[in-house]
């Protein structure tokens, strides 16, 4: 158990500066989003704002569109790029634990951080919105931002897969389908349009959990 705690602590040491930085960025984006919403409400009048939203669709929190994605990529980079430098991962995988468990704990750490950001940010954004908007519009906002936040989880897993891959040529090849699948989360559609598709996005995320193990296997096999 101590060993796992040590791995988690190591991941925290590697990522803490970035996490603090991203927390500040998320907070800033949240405060600015609500300032903009309040300003639009004041200038247009709330009823016109409601009417515009009902007629043209929900468009709050645009500043958050790529933030979870960025967080996912930065998390993977800060966690795994140091491991790949001078092949430190070799040392990590030599700990007296099954290698698959070591990789799983590292991935779980990253996913937990990303999930923590999601579970704090999404309810706070929706709660804030619910003070000024009817529940249907709040619900619409949820459906709009959900794929963006899920993209953060997918981006983390795909970026981890690419970062852990030992060969540069293979990293470039992995990037192409990875970027293609990430684009599934950003199809630029109306709030709610993703309702029938979210289950598939979750499926992609679950599958993507396995990818990093393949990169680690290749690393272990000495591919470089």
């Amino acid at each position: 158990m101590f060993m796992y705690q040590s791995i988690i602590y190591k991941e925290w040491i590697k990522t803490r500066s970035m996490i603090v930085l991203m927390a500040i960025v998320f907070l800033g984006a949240g405060i600015y989003s609500f300032m903009k919403i309040a300003e639009t409400g004041r200038l247009m009048g709330m009823i016109n704002y409601w009417e515009g939203t009902i007629e043209k669709g929900v468009s709050f929190f645009e500043y958050f569109k790529y933030l979870p994605l960025l967080l996912g990529i930065l998390l993977a980079v800060t966690q795994y790029v140091p491991e790949l430098q001078f092949k430190r991962l070799k040392l990590t995988l030599h700990l007296p634990l099954p290698e698959k468990n070591i990789i799983a704990v590292m991935l779980a750490y990253g996913l937990a951080v990303e999930l923590l950001f999601i579970l704090i940010t999404v309810p706070l954004l929706l709660l804030g919105l619910s003070f000024g908007f009817p529940r249907e519009i709040v619900w619409g906002a949820f459906w709009l931002i959900l794929p963006w936040f899920l993209a953060g989880l997918a981006a983390y897993l795909i970026a981890s897969w690419i970062c852990l891959e030992p060969q540069w040529k293979q990293r470039v090849l992995d990037f192409i389908p990875g970027a293609g699948v990430i684009s599934f989360f950003f199809m630029g559609v109306k709030a709610g349009a993703y309702q029938p598709f979210v289950i598939y996005l979750v499926g992609f995320i679950l599958l993507a959990f396995a990818f990093s193990f393949y990169s680690a296997i290749r690393f272990k096999e000495g591919k470089s």
Binding site: P98, L173, V181, I217
Partner: protein
């Protein structure tokens, strides 16, 4: 997890990306949209007049192939080009003995469009009830919005809370008129810039269509008492200048009606067109005081009808087949199936496997041989697997096999 299982998952992941991404790229490079001509019924020649938009030398002709000059074309459509003809002093005083009054000409104009995405898109479920008898010429914002599913509820914009009094007033009016909740659907025009307001048409739980609006701050609710053979599927409100009708009703069989205002009653008049498919067909109606031109367009082509403006009975019709899209030809040769997530007729993101032609299986077969014998790993088992995988998934499968490195022995300990 077993190394081979992860390999298969990765292969499938890259294949799915390829099944969508590769055809999408080919489509962008090859797609050629059908250019349909603009078609309008000539009240003078009693023929459907075409204006082609594909850059051909003689773009103006009728449905019998007679070619016209620009000037002849304009003159054959006086009710469409009346502004130009009036300026030129060429506007006829009457057509078929009916005097052409400029005011009547304007108020009888109908311009309506329907696209399948209208019924396949996410809605907020909130509506705005304008005052239908406003004191000023312009419509004004009511200061609240309403929801209507299990009951009608008005939400005040200042407090973001229920307006109990107004909600109860409308709820009791609806119940008194016989409306049965939950509502199946409610359609109206939410745009404040519309010329006048007629509220909403709503289908109740018993398939009865109700007209709901607000008059002098009071609820107006009326059962349209449509014939029980008409099963409403969709209603699209249209504000026409002469207030002859409320809008277009589509029933479940695909028949299209206007709901005429008939002395406080609601009179459905069926359009003399073949049933339309609400899920696939685009509809465009351009009407004038004598005839309506109705265009119904889908993947197979565009059918155009001319209807008498009063009876809405069919006078003439024609069909323009869709020109083959280069993309369809290419897809039919190299992709037996491909993946899409979005469609023109649907605003939702829905994964869909599109099958093209069996002929494309030859492409898969040839590719499978190539992959199995020339490119893939040395072991016989690997060759057979790669061959079968490419045979099933085609180009996307082959690309996935090339991208994802095949596993070698000595798996990760414990993985």
């Amino acid at each position: 997890m077993n190394k081979r299982i992860i390999y298969i998952i990765l292969l499938l992941f890259v294949t799915i990306a390829g099944l969508w991404g590769i055809p999408e790229l080919v489509k962008t490079a090859t797609s050629s949209k059908s250019h349909y001509p603009f078609v309008y019924f000539s009240s003078v020649k009693k023929k459907l007049m075409f204006r082609e938009s594909d850059g051909r030398k003689n773009p103006f002709h009728d449905d019998e192939g007679t070619v016209y000059t620009d000037d002849e074309y304009d003159k054959s459509l006086p009710l469409f080009n009346f502004r130009q003809l009036t300026v030129n002093g060429e506007m006829p005083d009457s057509i078929d003995g009916i005097a052409i009054d400029p005011r009547e000409l304007r108020v009888k104009m109908v311009n309506f469009r329907y696209a399948p995405a209208e019924i396949h898109r996410p809605e907020t479920g909130l509506y705005i009830m304008y005052e239908s008898l406003p004191k000023k010429a312009k419509l004004e914002s009511p200061g609240d919005v309403f929801r209507m599913k299990d009951k009608i509820e008005f939400i005040d914009d200042e407090t973001n809370t229920l307006n109990q009094k107004k909600s109860e007033l409308f709820q009791s009016a609806l119940l008194k008129a016989g409306y049965t909740f939950p509502a199946q659907w409610t359609y109206g025009d939410l745009n404040i810039r519309k010329p006048y307001d007629e509220g909403y048409f709503s289908l109740d739980a018993k398939d009865e269509l109700y007209h709901i609006k607000m008059v002098n701050g009071r609820p107006f609710v009326k059962n349209t008492q449509l014939d029980s053979t008409i099963k409403p599927a969709y209603f699209s409100m249209l504000e026409v200048a002469d207030k002859r009708f409320y809008g277009f009703l589509f029933d479940k069989k695909g028949n299209v009606y206007i709901i005429e205002e008939a002395g406080g009653k609601y009179n459905p008049v069926q359009l003399g067109i073949d049933p339309v498919n609400l899920d696939t067909d685009d509809l465009m109606i351009l009407g004038n005081m004598l005839y309506w031109t109705v265009s119904v367009q889908n993947e197979s082509g565009k059918r155009v009808y001319a209807l008498g403006a009063q009876t809405l009975e069919r006078v003439r019709d024609t069909f323009i087949a869709a020109s083959p899209d280069k993309w369809d030809v290419v897809a039919g040769k190299i992709f037996p199936f491909y993946l899409t997530f979005q469609k023109k007729t649907n605003d939702y993101v829905v994964p869909q496997i599109n099958f093209t032609a069996y002929l494309a299986l030859f492409c898969n077969f040839a590719l499978a041989l190539l992959i199995a014998f020339l490119i893939s790993g040395k072991s016989k088992k690997q060759k057979i697997f790669s061959g079968i995988y490419t045979l099933v998934f085609g180009i996307a499968g082959a690309v996935a096999l090339l991208i994802v490195p095949a596993p070698t022995p000595n798996p990760l300990k414990g993985a």
